[in-house]
Structure formats: structure tokens, C-alpha cells
């Protein structure tokens, strides 16, 4: 489904509510934080509490959408933010939680903004800490909607802990379109892999990452594999498709892509749609969320 600006608000409110959503991207400066900034006002309108944070220090120097320095996040009164003590200090935050995890930028804490204030998001640097933080947010503070600004390669090992979804953000231009379509095709294929049904499937469980070399070590006789989640599959599209033709693959934890945000540059929406149709892309797409046609 193609999502348009007209329908995006109810769609987002319905689909992000009570979920842990990672904002992941195809590249370091794909526009993840800019999209987070797009989401925040929409979620605020719902009136339901939500928390936002990041995985580690976001290393982006500039944003590819705006070509500007890293976009600034502005918390407003009532926002729940997880970041470091130093980044929330002197910003009018009421402290609600201090987690036993430290980064080079200080201890990880959760604060509630008492006024509008710019804030830098610095989250935990490892997955176990993030899983533990999310557990406290949900069980102790009863906040079930979480947004996490983070690169996709940092979200491994989390699926079992928080039952997350992710939004894939990418900037498409004429130079990277073919490469990106390959990646989107790969993600679509991964998105359709079912969750392991323990009762009906007698399968070999793969610990850790599934790489080309690991795949070669698995006996030919083993025709059903269970993998933790999609982030553990490190196979190019061609190998992945071959694998799916020869073996039944299932995931222990589902980690689905909720929708995809494509910021188009030098490529029309119709051209991009044609590319997506060609690869059989079946996941919802939001094109150019920041585009407006002046009335």
C-alpha cells in the first residue's frame, strides 16, 4: 500500500501504538532522525505516553534529506526521553529512572520534559542494556510505545526481548536505486519468513549468524532451519533465495518491517513504484513525507 500524507497520521497512530519501533536505515545518514522528528508530533497528539531514545551515539554528522548538520530533536513538555544524564542535565527534565548502564557521555536515565527543550539522544551501546531498559520502561513505568532511533546493524539480539517492529528509512536517487531495490527485495523476502512452529516442525536451530560459510557447514540432509530473527541472516539476496528454495526457514522471533519511508531524489514516484513492482515489494511505503505542494 502506498501511504500518503493525508492518511499517514491515523495509520501511524494505529500502527506504532504499544510497539517498540526501531527507525532503521539503509545508510548512516538515511534520514532516520529527521523521520523521528516527523513522528513525534503525530504521537504527541494521541495523548498516550511514549518514550523515545537511540541506540548508542548516533554518528550522523549531517542529514541526507536536508544536507544539514545532524537534525536537532526538540522535546516538548510531557515527553519521556531516555538519554544520558549529561544530555538531559540543565534542560528542565524531571528524572524518573536511572539505569545501571553508563556510556562515555554518562549514565543512562529516563526523564520527563517539563518544558520545550532541545535534546541529544544517546542510548545504551549494547543490546542487553537496551533490552533491560525497555523491560523497565514497560513493566515499571507502564509505557508501551517506544521509538528507537538506530541503525539496523545495531538491533540484533533484541527481537526476543521486546517483540519489536521496524521502519526502514532510505533516500533513493538514480545512483543507488538498483542497489536499494536489491536490499528492499531481500528485506521483503525476510519479512515473509514465518515464525517457527515448535509443534509441527522438527528443525535444526542455528545459533548466531547465518553466513555463507556457516551455511556450507550445515549438512545437506538438514532441510529445515530455525534462526533467531532476520537480523542474523547475513546472506546476499541470491544466496537467500537459493536457501529458501532448498530448505524450510523459520524464525524464532518475528521482527517485521512495519513500513518503508522512501525519500526520492532525482527520481519520480512513478519510477520508484515501477521498481518496487518489479521486485514484488509488498510492504507499505510512505513516499516523501516532507513534500508539500503549495496551495
Amino acid at each position: 500500500m502506498i501511504l500518503n500524507n493525508e492518511h499517514i497520521r491515523p495509520y501511524l497512530l494505529q500502527n506504532l501504538q504499544d510497539k517498540t519501533t526501531f527507525i532503521a536505515g539503509n545508510a548512516k545518514n538515511a534520514g532516520k532522525t529527521t523521520f523521528l522528528n516527523f513522528l513525534l508530533p503525530i504521537l504527541r497528539v494521541s495523548g498516550n505516553p511514549f518514550v523515545y531514545t537511540s541506540i548508542g551515539v548516533d554518528g550522523e554528522d549531517f542529514d541526507r534529506i536536508t544536507s544539514q548538520r545532524k537534525p536537532q530533536i526538540v522535546a516538548v513538555e510531557g515527553d519521556f526521553v531516555v538519554s544520558t544524564s549529561k544530555s538531559l542535565q540543565n534542560k528542565g527534565f524531571q528524572l524518573l529512572e536511572a539505569f545501571p548502564f553508563h556510556t562515555t557521555a554518562g549514565q543512562i536515565v529516563m526523564g520527563k520534559a517539563t518544558r520545550q527543550t532541545p535534546v541529544e539522544l544517546i542510548g545504551p551501546e549494547d543490546n542487553d542494556s537496551l533490552a533491560s531498559i525497555l523491560e523497565v520502561i514497560k513493566t515499571k513505568h507502564q509505557i508501551n510505545t517506544v521509538l528507537i532511533d538506530g541503525a539496523i546493524n545495531r538491533i540484533t539480539q533484541l527481537a526476543s526481548a521486546v517483540n519489536p517492529v521496524y521502519v526502514f528509512v532510505a533516500t533513493v536517487d538514480s545512483r543507488n536505486v538498483n542497489e536499494l531495490m536489491q536490499e528492499l527485495k531481500r528485506l521483503t523476502v525476510l519479512n515473509e519468513i514465518p515464525v517457527w512452529d515448535k509443534l509441527t516442525t522438527n528443525a535444526e536451530e542455528i545459533q548466531g549468524a547465518l553466513t555463507e560459510s556457516r551455511l556450507r557447514e550445515i549438512p545437506v540432509s538438514c532441510n529445515s532451519l530455525v534462526i533467531s530473527d532476520f537480523t542474523k541472516i547475513f546472506l546476499p539476496l541470491r544466496s537467500l533465495l537459493n536457501l529458501l528454495q532448498t530448505r524450510k526457514i523459520s524464525f524464532r522471533n518475528r521482527f517485521p518491517m512495519l513500513f518503508c519511508v522512501l525519500n526520492l531524489k532525482d527520481i519520480s514516484q512513478q519510477q520508484c513504484k515501477d521498481h518496487l513492482n518489479k521486485i514484488g515489494f509488498s510492504i507499505d511505503v510512505l513516499f516523501n513525507p516532507y513534500q508539500q505542494i503549495p496551495s
Partner: protein, 535 residues
């Protein structure tokens, strides 16, 4: 005090200890230290406190739940060794004090007195709670400093002005160009529509071949107000720092009391966890004295084995023994339970001396300064590369250095891997040495049949297999695999211990081997050889 890691492993102490689950980081730190007490008075105090806590749990289950709730909310505190505490340090301290206060009010007056849990940090808690009464939050409120309050009012006012300017500007641009910047920092618009945007109102930059990225140009007043805000924030930061300095000084005045409070919370947590074990694992208070005693066990359960037996559907038989000597020799069949007896004694002793009640109707022993184990399972690094006998000799040397202080020595089939004539002599010498010391309680399991005992040691025997009953059932059964055979042996084995007054040798290795399904031809050959020797 010597309690070796090997003893903890031999007695499978860890499997009991994992049931000890304190809720706070302070309780967990205590658990990790694995404290072993070596004074009877200290232990009695610990046992009595468990009893009182157990009574409290039984009488006030609701309050107990609430105390556990508050214990769970306590987070680890940051270090006090810093010049100035930051907001996170103070938040954690406030939360700690708030939860401690709640726990203190729930305890019975008796427990509060014993634990020293009267809350005496009310003033500090009130100070940390100024303008922010919730226990689980912290904020440098304006109530700490009227100037801070004033600056914050100014920030609020200027924020409103800035917001009004933004709204006005956005509204103007919406009307003029149909661009809606509400909640968006920028927009991407078709380039062909952008020619009419006046540069003093809209900032433009190329986006791609057909679009431009546009941002509103904010009026000069916006930047003036933003600058005012920046300056107010600088002042606010300075004033907040002053508050932090003041609060840090106030906290530092009471560091000793806070550290005492941490100890108290640890004590409450640890005792509650121990008392919960009494309830869930049906434990009783052991009797440990400073004086030398002969060990007594009534219905003593070696819980790790009991659990294992239950999982395998095997029968478990608790230990009942009143020993009449401090030096005890244990004889018995193969698989008759000699090693388990040593493990049970060590297990009960170790959990008693780590300050827990025991899984026994009665356990009477003394407090030992050292608890030693000699056996070839010993795996310490120092003895890597030694032969089995070499390892035992090494361990024995360590043990012999501790005989002048109360010591419990558990020896599992000493010298089993060397020639039996010398081994028997060495074992007898060892028993003689032990029996001369009132400080020693020793348990030695052995298969040796001709130990020249001087009389100071008592010999006990595991009752062992009821061969007739076993044979009868065995002959009726067909196609038994090794697991079935073990189960059958277990069913007909009596693991109780009796005084072996006749000091009879125990020849049953061939019978056990046969019962376990060893090749008949081999068994018969062995029997023939034995027969020849006996003739």
C-alpha cells in the same frame, strides 16, 4: 578460615544457593560475597533473625508483599566519592531513602528494633523532595532558590513569546504561500512553485532536479527572544549548580547515616530472602555450638540429589544418623551411598555456616574454622598434573596444618588408587591422628576391609542392597537397560547407616557389576579366580 571451592562443588552448594534471591543490589552483593560465619554467637543471631522474619511473614503477608515491592524499587546508588553530586546521584539517593522509609513503616516494632531500621533520615529526604514529593522522581525545583524560580518563570514567558512568533510566522506563510510548517523544520516543494517565495520570508536550497528544500525565515524578534532565552538558560544552569553544591554538602554531612541505612536495607533484604526459603523449602534452625560435638542428623535432605532423584523417578532416602564419635569411618557397598553421606554432612554444615536454616528435622554440629575435603575429584590449579594419589597427598598436607582449630574433614575413599596394603596403613594412621584431636570431626569413606583401627574411630556401614528382594524382581524382569537396572538397584538399596560393630568386610562388587548387566562370562571368571585364591 579455609573452605575450599572444591568443597562448595563437592556439596553442590550452588544448587541450594540459587534459591537465595535477594531483591536489591545490596542484597545481591551480600549473596556474591558468600559469607561463611565462624562464630556460634554470630550464627545464632542470624538464625534468630530468620525466625523473627519468618514469623513476620506468616503474620503479615500483605505487609511482606509491600516490603518486597519497595525493595524491588531500590536501585544501586552512585558513588559518594565525588566533589559534587549530579541530579542522577541525588535522584537515586532520594529514591533509596523514600523506599527505605516506606519499608521502615511496614516493619513490626520488634523487627525494626532488631534490624536498626528506624528511619532517621527524614530531614534529608524532605530536603531532596522540595517541590517534588513523589519518591521516584527528582527535579531541581524552584523551591530551592527563589531566584531559580524567578528565572524559570522568565524562561516560561519567553518560551510563550517564541512560540507565538513561530505560530504567527507559520500562519502568515500558510496564508501567503500555502506552506504548512507546523511541526516540520523544513518542506520539500516542486521547484516550479518556489519562484514566488520571497527570500526574506522563505529560505530555499536545491533538493534535487525538480524540488527545493524550504524553511521559514524567522523574524528578527524570534532571534532576539531566542538569545534572551539562551542567557536565561545560562543563569538557570548556574543556579541549578548552586543548588547541587548545597544539596551535595547536606548529603555529605550524613554519609555515615546513609551507609548505615544501606547496611540495614541489605540486612532486611537478605533476611527476608532467607526466611522465604524457610517457608518454601521447609527448613529448620540448625544447632551449632562452639564446643566439640558428635554430629547428629535427623531427616537430613541433600536437596540437589533429592531433586535429581525426583526428576529421574528414583527414590530418595534422607539421612538419619547420631554418630557416637568425632572420627567416623563409613563402609558399604558400591553405589551404597557412602559419598552421598559425606556430601550430605558437608552440605548441611556449609549451609548452616553460611547463615541458612537447613533441610533437616534436626542438625546438630559445631562451628568449624575450617571445612576440608579430600578426594580425587579435587580440581584446584595448584595440583594440576599430579597423579590421583599425588593430589590426595597434597590436599592432606593442607588439612594437617589445620588440625589445631575446629575442623570438619570429609575424605572420600582416601588412597583408592595406590596399593591397598600401604594405603590401609596410611589411612589408619590418618584416623589415629584425627582421633587424637578434640578439634577434629572427620568422616572417611572407604572400601578397605582390613583397616587396623586403634579403637578411637567408630565404624559405620551403609545398609546396602537387599539382594533377595532385588534378585526376585530382577529374575522376573526382561530386557532391562542400564537405566532400568539402576532404578531397580535404587529401589532395593537401603541408604541408611548403621554402626558396624563386627567390622565385616563388604564383598559385593561382582554382584553389583552383574546387576548392572556386565558380561556373565567375565563375572564368572572373576568368581573362579576369587574361589581359587580363597582355597
Amino acid at each position: 578460615m579455609i573452605v575450599t571451592e572444591e568443597l562448595f562443588q563437592f556439596t553442590r552448594f550452588g544448587e541450594f544457593y540459587e534459591n537465595f534471591r535477594p531483591l536489591t543490589v545490596f542484597g545481591k552483593r551480600f549473596k556474591n560475597r558468600r559469607v561463611v560465619y565462624d562464630r556460634a554467637a554470630d550464627l545464632q543471631e542470624v538464625y534468630d533473625l530468620i525466625a523473627k522474619t519468618f514469623d513476620f511473614i506468616a503474620e503479615y503477608p500483605e505487609k511482606t508483599n509491600q516490603i518486597e515491592f519497595f525493595l524491588k524499587r531500590i536501585s544501586p546508588l552512585n558513588t559518594f566519592e565525588k566533589e559534587t553530586f549530579d541530579t542522577t546521584d541525588l535522584f537515586l539517593l532520594k529514591r533509596f531513602l523514600g523506599n527505605y522509609k516506606s519499608i521502615s513503616t511496614l516493619l513490626s516494632p520488634e523487627l525494626k528494633k532488631i534490624l536498626g531500621a528506624g528511619f532517621e533520615l527524614d530531614e534529608l529526604l524532605s530536603l531532596l523532595s522540595k517541590g517534588e514529593n513523589e519518591i521516584d522522581t527528582f527535579y531541581i525545583s524552584g523551591d530551592y532558590n527563589p531566584r531559580l524560580m524567578e528565572i524559570r518563570s522568565k524562561i516560561e514567558a519567553v518560551d510563550k513569546e517564541i512560540q507565538a512568533i513561530r505560530s504567527e510566522t507559520f500562519s502568515f506563510l500558510q496564508d501567503k504561500y500555502g506552506l504548512n510548517f507546523t511541526n516540520l523544520d523544513f518542506l520539500v516543494v516542486p521547484e516550479m512553485t518556489a519562484f514566488r517565495f520571497e527570500p526574506n520570508l522563505i529560505y530555499k536550497e536545491p533538493f534535487d532536479n525538480s524540488s527545493v528544500l524550504v524553511k521559514p525565515v524567522m523574524p528578527e524578534l524570534f532571534f532576539k527572544k531566542s538569545e534572551v532565552r539562551e542567557n536565561l538558560i545560562i543563569t538557570e544552569t548556574e543556579l541549578e549548580h548552586e543548588v547541587l553544591l548545597f544539596l551535595s554538602a547536606e548529603v555529605k554531612k550524613q554519609i555515615a547515616e546513609i551507609e548505615q541505612a544501606i547496611d540495614t536495607i541489605q540486612n532486611i533484604d537478605v533476611n527476608l530472602a532467607k526466611a522465604q526459603m524457610v517457608q518454601s523449602m521447609e527448613l529448620t534452625s540448625p544447632i551449632l555450638t562452639e564446643e566439640a560435638v558428635q554430629i547428629e542428623v535427623t531427616d537430613g535432605h541433600f536437596l540437589p540429589l533429592e531433586k535429581q532423584c525426583a526428576e529421574k523417578g528414583l527414590r530418595y532416602q534422607p539421612l538419619n544418623a547420631t554418630f557416637d564419635n568425632q572420627t567416623i569411618v563409613i563402609k558399604g557397598s558400591n553405589m551404597g551411598g557412602k559419598t552421598v553421606l559425606l556430601q550430605t554432612i558437608g552440605f548441611l554444615q556449609l549451609i548452616s555456616q553460611t547463615g541458612f536454616w537447613v533441610p533437616a528435622k534436626r542438625f546438630r554440629s559445631r562451628v568449624f574454622k575450617h571445612i576440608q575435603f579430600i578426594g580425587i575429584e579435587h580440581k584446584s590449579k595448584e595440583i594440576e598434573g599430579l597423579s590421583s594419589f599425588g593430589k590426595e597427598v597434597f590436599q592432606l598436607s593442607t588439612v594437617l596444618n589445620t588440625l589445631d582449630e575446629p575442623v570438619l574433614i570429609l575424605i572420600d575413599e582416601f588412597a583408592r588408587t595406590t596399593n591397598s596394603i600401604e594405603a590401609e596403613a596410611l589411612t589408619a594412621a590418618l584416623l589415629e591422628t584425627f582421633s587424637e584431636k578434640n578439634t577434629v570431626n572427620a568422616f572417611l569413606s572407604t572400601h578397605f576391609t582390613h583397616l587396623p583401627l586403634s579403637g578411637q574411630a567408630s565404624v559405620y556401614r551403609m545398609k546396602g542392597l537387599d539382594y533377595e528382594a532385588f534378585e526376585e524382581e530382577y529374575s522376573r524382569s526382561e530386557n532391562l537397560d542400564i537405566t532400568d537396572r539402576i532404578r531397580l538397584l535404587n529401589q532395593h538399596n537401603d541408604y541408611s547407616i548403621v554402626k558396624d560393630t563386627a567390622d565385616l568386610p563388604c564383598y559385593d562388587a561382582l554382584q553389583i557389576a552383574e546387576s548392572l548387566g556386565l558380561n556373565n562370562e567375565l563375572i564368572n571368571r572373576a568368581r573362579n579366580i576369587l574361589g581359587g585364591k580363597n582355597e
